[in-house]
């Protein structure tokens, strides 16, 4: 198992490298002009030349590539073309994105799987058909439009300044935040978000442990819904303890819009994959045996069918992951959420290459990292992977 993970990790690094190299040359070659053209509109030729030398843009492409490569290897993010350290930018923009992406993905995944499971079990019911159609419509809907709709509905048509042309070119900010509240504290929204996330992660881990012990002792199952609810409750009380509850709630009042949009957009895909997978598993012999054993229908569905159906869903997830990240990027820029995606827009617009490349690096790492996590989860769920040490033979 570890051998497999190490192997996957090495291959991932190589893929990341190929991906970044491709993007580096693709952007530089395809996009006309450079940062100086975008930024120094009013300057004359000499002034521009001087700026180019200063920023190292006069060097040939290969030189710049190796320079950047050297920086990546040293894990030195460098500075943006505006002179701001990129690490600072990332500290500002990554937490908001993670908040939406991680919590959104987890919730969308759970909702999607649950709906997929339920609808495929009673395939012919009118409710199942409606849910399937709903999932399809949401999944194929135009993301900015969905954002607009969600915002419109939750704000009852009131506040609507978020969606707008050239939304991506606005500087990242939290426009909806309560100014007075934030003036009193020295924390930035991103720092608050980090604290919030830590709270959620710790409470989730702790509750998982409790759940495990409880289930071992009593040999019964904790309902998933209750478990999620408990995690939420625990996390919120955690915010209270840190004393950031006001700030956290303030952030949540605007964060739920991209989050809900993202969940609506993403759950359909999970649901559809789960349905297909359940359909395969439903007719398998072990499910039939489970029925023959006289187990209650819910046990057959949840313990026997769903758990096996989950495995192909996980491997399909690997293919869908980049689309999910894409979805986040689009939604962020639609609502002006100051995350990684919005930042990427701005950088692309200004042709701020160091920021673009490093953002892509982060996106690549997130997607490959998520992949490794999926591998680990799959191994946890499937003893065949766990005990096999991945000795695949190609006969």
């Amino acid at each position: 198992m570890t051998r497999y993970l190490i192997r996957q990790f090495t291959i991932s690094l190589i893929k990341l490298f190929v991906f970044l190299t491709f993007m580096f040359f693709f952007i530089q070659i395809v996009m006309p002009g450079d940062f100086v053209d975008q930024f120094a509109m009013g300057c004359d030729a000499a002034c521009r030349e001087e700026m180019r030398v200063q920023l190292g843009l006069d060097l040939p492409l290969w030189n710049r590539y190796f320079h950047w490569l050297g920086q990546v290897v040293r894990l030195d993010f460098g500075e943006s073309m505006f002179g701001e350290p990129i690490l600072d930018i990332f500290k500002r923009v990554i937490p908001p994105t993670l908040l939406v992406f991680v919590i959104g993905t987890v919730l969308a995944f759970m909702i999607g799987l649950w709906l997929g499971k339920v609808t495929s079990w009673r395939e012919r019911g009118i409710g199942s058909r409606l849910i399937t159609l709903g999932g399809l419509v949401l999944f194929t809907s135009f993301p900015p439009w969905l954002t607009y709709l969600v915002t419109y509905l939750v704000t009852k048509g009131g506040v609507f300044q978020v969606v707008g042309g050239r939304g991506g070119l606005r500087g990242p900010n939290f426009t909806g935040l309560d100014r007075l509240l934030w003036q009193k504290v020295e924390l930035s929204p991103s720092e608050v978000i980090i604290t919030m996330m830590i709270c959620v992660v710790i409470s989730a881990l702790f509750l998982f442990l409790l759940k495990f012990i409880y289930e071992r002792l009593t040999k019964s199952k904790v309902p998933t819904l209750m478990f999620v609810f408990l995690i939420g409750l625990w996390a919120v009380s955690g915010w209270q303890m840190w004393g950031i509850d006001d700030l956290a709630f303030d952030i949540m009042t605007i964060a739920y819009i991209p989050m809900v949009t993202y969940i609506l957009l993403a759950f359909g895909e999970f649901m559809l994959i789960m349905q297909a997978s359940m359909r395969d598993v439903k007719n398998s012999e072990y499910v039939q045996i489970a029925r023959a054993k006289g187990l209650p229908e819910s046990t057959v569905r949840d313990q026997h069918a769903a758990r096996n159906a989950l495995l192909p869903v996980l491997s399909r997830l690997v293919i869908s992951l980049p689309y999910l990240i894409t979805g986040v990027v689009i939604i962020e820029s639609s609502v002006g959420w100051p995350g990684l995606g919005t930042n990427l827009w701005n950088a692309l617009y200004w042709q701020n290459m160091p920021v673009v490349m490093n953002t892509l690096l982060i996106v690549g790492i997130i997607s490959l990292g998520a992949r490794l996590i999926i591998d680990v989860i799959a191994a946890y769920l499937d003893p065949r992977i766990r005990y096999q040490d991945f000795q695949t033979n190609h006969t």
Partner: protein, 325 residues
């Protein structure tokens, strides 16, 4: 209804599948019974409805299948009208099943022990944890598996071991009747042989009723006391194993007996049965075997023969039993 001597009484069972092209009567008017401690065999070709009978007995039919008519009495109680909740109580307690494919009948993500325990927790929850563990150990011994293997996952077992585990699972709640649906078909001869022996011994030892379903008449000959022969959804002949093999009266049974190769005895010419089994979507009128039957007469083409007792305990559905005119 008086309490019957039989573990299972099936009367006039009719079951069909609804398909796009029309109904398929996979089980058509089948009547038979299984006495206490008796092992009967059901033999027939693929698609003749043997497995459909087995699934009907457990009421495990897919959503597009219905039992249209007939009674299935287990220990005297008719289970056909039973609601799902009550049926669930009877499954595995009264009647359990060993499925065809050893590879797929165990859930790959749970240990074998968990899968056996699950059924016991559902049906015999009054047992304590130690009692259950002891029971599982003794079951493993019974089917010839090392009890220390019980905490392993199915993929760590070989094909033969898996089928043994499935048999142990089927025995876990001491059912009165066990249905074995081609349990050895996917296995190699040597493994098949030892599992057959095990099944036979267990059935005798626990004095349990068994329905053994197979397409292989050689296997059926070894395990069963009475044999039913199925053709195109109908039970065409049923009698003691001796009678079926040495004095068959239905032409299909006769043909089946003489087209089966054997490695012992003289090498005899194998008889070829002309044609193919009928398409159940549009079965031939009259006796379903008539297009392939050498003794066919006009009446065979028009009327379905009754399934009736010809000699003591020897039932058959044929207008010309034994080829007589």
């Amino acid at each position: 209804m008086t309490v019957s001597e039989n573990v299972l009484d099936v009367k006039n069972l009719v079951m069909h599948y609804r398909t796009r092209k029309g109904p398929v009567y996979a089980v058509d008017n089948v009547t038979f019974h299984v006495g206490k401690g008796e092992a009967i065999g059901l033999v027939g070709e693929s698609g003749c409805g043997k497995t459909s009978i087995a699934l009907s007995l457990l009421k495990l039919l897919p959503t597009n299948a219905d039992i249209l008519n007939g009674e299935i009495r287990i220990m005297g109680d008719d289970i056909v009208p039973l609601p799902e909740k009550k049926m669930n109580k009877r499954r595995w307690r009264d009647i359990s099943m060993v499925f065809q494919s050893a590879m797929n009948s165990l859930n790959p993500v749970f240990t074998v022990e968990d899968q056996i325990l699950e059924a016991m927790l559902e049906h015999v929850p009054h047992l304590s944890e130690e009692e259950m563990n002891e029971k599982i150990d003794s079951l493993f011994d019974l089917v010839g598996l090392d009890p220390s293997l019980k905490t392993q996952y199915p993929h760590q077992y070989s094909g033969g071991m898996r089928q043994r585990a499935v048999i142990a699972m089927a025995l876990s709640c001491d059912p009165d009747l066990i249905i074995a649906d081609e349990p050895t078909t996917a296995l190699d001869v040597i493994v098949q042989d030892s599992i057959l022996k095990q099944i036979r011994d267990i059935q005798k030892e626990l004095n349990m009723a068994m329905i053994y379903i197979s397409h292989d008449i050689a296997v059926i000959a070894e395990v069963s006391e009475r044999v039913g022969v199925m053709y195109a959804g109908k039970l065409v002949e049923m009698s003691s194993t001796e009678n079926i093999f040495h004095n068959p009266i239905h032409p299909y049974t006769m043909a089946l007996m003489s087209c089966f190769p054997s490695i012992v005895g003289e090498k005899t010419e194998l008889v070829t049965l002309p044609g193919e089994p009928p398409d159940l979507l549009a079965p031939p009128p009259g006796c379903r075997f008539h297009p392939r039957c050498p003794y066919v007469t006009e009446i065979c083409k028009e009327q379905d023969p009754d399934y009736k007792e010809h000699t003591q305990g020897h039932y058959a559905a044929c207008w010309h039993p034994g080829g007589e005119k």
